[in-house]
């Protein structure tokens, strides 16, 4: 079946929740969520991932049991092994995206019973989408009477559903769907079916506006300097009428156009907002975390600072007009993007209350601004950085570096960062590192040479640091809690792009190895022109490990608590069991290596009244638990672990929590390796159980 207003499938529609009839009537224009609900992807529009619940606490976390679970295999024609969603919970109903179809499911939040499901068959357009699979979630809107669910399909259509029935809302857009490839102040090329643009994150609803960004294929090896642009738009939640658009790459005559030399704003694309958007409804301000322009690692064909690439942009909720912006990275060359939701924080600095916005990042800086004015709360200083030597590249001579708080994860590589369990391993690591260019944050990529350097060895770039799950925030104590990978090392080398591969002068690659285009899954892989013949066996690639151990020393992954009133790190812990390869390494058998955390970058945290909760991103087997991963709880005041509960697979979507009928639940998405996607709900056993 082709996409279109009549293309949805429904397995069935049931609406029998007795609880719904008992709901208090909502009289305000906007739905006011209760603390017991989770009405937005990050709990609220402030991006906090916080609920002040405490039924589940340090004394009983270990007692948690699985209340219900739902595999997502059947929400699509093939299982998915990368379930990244965080559900919503409103009025005792849990809503989530699920499965390779990116279906929407509504479940009884207490029992997990499936109430309805909705999916869109988009045919070739869905198959060509740059961002496939189930995505990260959806948005909810209510005026007190009507309830609506919004999500964006892989084929980039905004769908509006009746939250009670799962049916398309006929009065929205074109029979319940808006084609986001249209009315975008650009003509999406080459055509609506295959034109590269989509999104995997959840749309945001603020007041009566639904806001949608854009995402593209991975940008290390694009075929062209030219691509579609990732503008951000606001639509009327009732009709789908476009209310505003913000040009993340300014059009001629607009502010910032002159930061694209040689008219490069005309053809450069990407620069979307692919991650979560944050809104202050009271102030009527929207915070847009903008990603990198085309391409990630080479910008010689887009000289200039490239606004609003890698900028935090504040726009008016009603008009989309820019209020202020701050570019975190000038002339981006590291794929730092801005990868996660800005966090709104009302803090007190030196006795002065500040409405702040705090931005976690791949590069391990937490950038903190007055969210009304855009002025940094603590000075962010332009510092001289290394100017590289890749032919044709344009380099920004300085980059903004926060003076406070200190970086919460590694963002450069030096010899001191290499594995040092013993001298032999350290020497081996140095031998590997000697093939690369090393340096602190903002050390630029190099042209890859067979006799060295092969590339720049980086931390805090493409993977991060903090990637899409972002941070979390306790609005009572004014503390940000944020996970970061400290060992997700990324070698970045550039090679001349063969003309039959790309019209870029340089793309990511390794000297002596065949150059190729990285794609997202599900794209048609057969259409490429023949590749140049030169190549070496991939087993000859330099691996970022030493005798199977990570090249970078522990901690591999951390959770950090950052006090925003003081701008300082309160505590930092290694998150995640020590991987087997380290724990069981023969030379370490007799050593009691402290917990190392894990080399994974997609972990999100949840904050409750007393706890910080996060699952592990890797599988381990220990004396305490069978093969699996643990959902861990920490005392949020100290970082001390207070409990852990078993998951059959790694956390792949960030946890959320809610209360229904007097019972607190924690729901987390797990998947990976042999384990297909599953949402698991935990709660405490009833008294006497």
């Amino acid at each position: 079946m082709l996409r279109g207003k009549t293309s949805s499938w429904r397995l069935g529609i049931l609406w029998v929740s007795a609880g719904l009839a008992l709901l208090p009537a909502q009289t305000s224009a906007q739905y006011r969520a209760k603390d017991t609900e989770w009405p937005s992807y990050a709990a609220d529009l402030a991006g906090t991932r916080y609920r002040p619940l405490e039924q589940i606490n340090a004394s009983n976390f270990n007692d948690l049991e699985i209340a219900w679970r739902i595999k997502t295999d059947n929400f699509g024609n093939r299982p998915e092994y990368k379930l990244e969603g965080t559900p919503l919970m409103i009025n005792d109903v849990l809503y989530a995206t699920a499965g390779s179809r990116r279906a929407v499911i509504a479940l009884d939040a207490a029992t997990g019973e499936l109430l309805w499901t909705h999916g869109e068959h988009e045919g070739a357009r869905g198959g060509a989408a740059p961002r496939q699979l189930s995505g990260r979630g959806l948005a909810y809107w209510s005026d007190g009477k009507e309830e609506r669910i919004f999500y964006v399909t892989p084929g980039y259509r905004l769908i509006c559903l009746n939250a009670k029935t799962g049916m398309l809302v006929a009065t929205f857009g074109n029979g319940g769907a808006l084609d986001l490839k249209l009315d975008d102040d650009q003509t999406i090329f080459p055509d609506l079916t295959t034109g590269e643009i989509g999104i995997q994150s959840a749309p945001v609803v603020a007041k009566d506006t639904v806001i949608v960004g854009a995402a593209f294929r991975e940008g290390m090896t694009p075929k062209s300097i030219k691509n579609n642009k990732g503008y951000v738009r606001g639509f009327d939640v009732r009709t789908g009428r476009r209310l505003w658009i913000f040009h993340t790459i300014p059009k001629k005559g607009e502010f910032g156009y002159d930061t694209w030399l040689n008219d490069s704003a005309e053809y450069t694309g990407n620069t979307g907002v692919w991650t979560q958007i944050t809104v202050d409804e009271q102030l009527g301000l929207v915070y847009l975390p903008v990603e990198s322009p085309t391409s990630d690692y080479y910008g010689g064909q887009r000289p200039g600072n490239n606004l609003f690439g890698e900028s935090l942009v504040c726009v008016d909720l009603k008009t989309g007009k820019r209020k202020w912006h701050f570019q975190l990275v000038h002339h981006p060359l590291w794929d730092m993007d801005i990868s996660s939701a800005p966090i709104l924080a009302d803090i007190v600095v030196d006795g002065k209350p500040i409405k702040a916005v705090a931005q976690p990042s791949k590069q391990g800086f937490l950038y903190v601004f007055d969210r009304i004015t855009g002025k940094p709360v603590w000075p962010i200083e332009e510092q001289k950085v290394e100017v590289g030597s890749v032919p044709g590249e344009w380099y920004a001579p300085t980059q903004p570096i926060p003076t406070k708080p200190p970086a919460y994860s590694r963002n450069g590589v030096s010899i001191d960062d290499l594995i040092d369990f013993n001298a032999e391993l350290h020497e081996q690591a140095k031998t590997i590192a000697s093939k690369y260019h090393l340096g602190p944050v903002f050390t630029p990529p190099v042209e890859s040479k067979a006799d060295g350097p092969l590339g720049t060895l980086t931390l805090g770039t493409a993977s991060g640091g903090t990637n899409w799950p972002g941070g979390s925030y306790d609005p009572e104590k004014h503390v940000v809690y944020v996970y970061a990978c400290n060992a997700c090392v990324e070698p970045i080398g550039l090679v001349p792009a063969p003309k039959d591969v790309s019209d870029l002068n340089y793309i990511a690659g390794v000297a002596g190895h065949e150059v190729s285009i990285l794609r997202g899954p599900g794209e048609n892989a057969g259409a490429d022109s023949p590749m140049p013949p030169k190549k070496a066996a991939a087993s000859s690639y330099v691996r970022m490990n030493v005798d199977g151990l990570p090249l970078i020393k522990p901690p591999y992954g951390t959770i950090t608590a950052i006090g925003l009133d003081e701008g300082k790190i309160l505590w930092q812990i290694a998150h995640g069991e020590t991987p087997e390869v380290v724990r069981n390494y023969p030379a370490f058998k007799e050593r009691n290596i402290p917990r190392t955390g894990q080399q994974t970058y997609n972990i999100g945290t949840l904050v409750t009244k007393t706890l910080v909760i996060a699952g592990e991103g890797q599988v381990t087997t220990t004396a305490d638990h069978p093969r699996g991963a643990m959902l861990r709880a920490y005392d949020k005041a100290t970082g001390k672990e207070v409990g852990a509960v078993y998951m059959p697979a790694p956390q792949s979507g960030s946890p959320m929590t809610y209360m229904v009928k007097g019972k607190q639940y924690i729901v987390v998405a797990v998947s990976g390796g042999p384990y297909s996607g599953e949402y698991i709900a935990y709660s405490l056993p009833a008294p006497g159980e």
Binding site: R131, L518, G522, A538, S539, N545, P550, E580, Q598, P674
Partner: protein
């Protein structure tokens, strides 16, 4: 409207059957160089666009080397990994490759992870592959 019966609550964890001590592991030379070469050509064509030239993965596809990959499969069997590849990959056309091609790609993946090659090819039969343990750790005596 028909009701939907999805009974996920009765799913249990995938039981991990302990491998008999005498079975082989990925450290015992379970594929040949020649097979890995065939697998490489297939990998370049069918897998590389998502998992990357160096098997390092991308934002949309997991790495096929390194800690996360090894931990995902450590303690399971090559049969488990083979079936995962065979049933779900390539993602845009699962089932496109035959068993022999999948076995060759698996051989290439093992080779790229620096597991040793040997004298016999990796079988294309899942039941044989289930007898080969995926062990992330190199056994101590075989340095």
């Amino acid at each position: 409207m028909a009701a939907v019966a999805i009974d996920a609550s009765h799913r249990t964890l995938r039981a991990q059957e302990p491998a008999p001590a005498e079975t082989r592991s990925v450290w015992d030379g379970v594929f040949t160089e020649e097979q890995a070469k065939r697998g490489e050509a297939l990998y370049q064509k069918e897998c590389k666009s998502c998992h990357g030239e160096t098997l390092a993965g991308g934002e949309s596809a997991p790495p096929l080397t390194g800690g996360a990959f090894l931990s995902n499969w450590n303690g399971l069997t090559l049969g488990d990994l083979f079936e995962r590849i065979r049933k779900t990959m390539p993602q845009n056309s699962p089932g496109k490759l035959n068993r022999q091609q999948n076995a060759d790609i698996l051989a290439y993946t093992l080779n790229a992870n620096k597991f040793p090659a040997g004298k016999t090819e990796l079988s294309r039969r899942a039941e044989f592959l289930k007898e080969i343990r995926f062990e992330a750790m190199k056994p101590a005596p075989k340095k």
